[in-house]
Amino acid sequence: MTIKKFMMVNRKAPYGTVYALESLEVVLIAAAFEQDVSLAFLDDGVYQLKKGHQTKGIEMKGFEKTYGALEDYDVTKLYVDQESLAARGLTADDLCVPVEIMSRAELGKRMEEQDVVLSF
């Protein structure tokens, strides 16, 4: 099968909208199709990776664990924008999974290399 470079661009916070959750579903399917999958987190998207989600009080299903499970699907390219973290008072220690932190410009270069960019 043709292998293409798919990037999922995540710019939205979790729980306020469903996009973070439904974008993860796309990631898992793309991985099942053995595509070259990467995830970019910038702007409010970096909040998706903030560890310690406790969703009982809002009666929604938490999906923090899914980020940790991505490695089992050979999805290991998680790129996070440094500036977006800083503007939100976050550092690498706050994130629930290991990621590659880079500048916006570097993230833009990775975007440019893709065959398909999906934004949620």
Partner: protein, 98 residues
Amino acid sequence: MLNIVNKSPLDRGSLDACLQSAEPGAILLIEDGVYAATRGSAGEAKLKAAGGKFKLFALGPDMEARGIADRAMDGVTLVDYAGFVDLVAEYDTCQSWL
């Protein structure tokens, strides 16, 4: 007036709009709006710049869901849904800054 803000302060203009327009009163942050109340964020800076014009509240369950309940900035009071109801009852009117 109780002003209810449900959007992230860095993605949308609703918190800015509220801070710039509303008369002194209270602001309750809910949903993605709670990110404004996190220490060290650009949202916190916006809220602090408003000085003491507004009593600040944030919905605890929404902060917990997002893993930021332990990051609440000084000067914001966390409430649960019952507290949300009390706030709506306490102020004569409420406005959701959508």
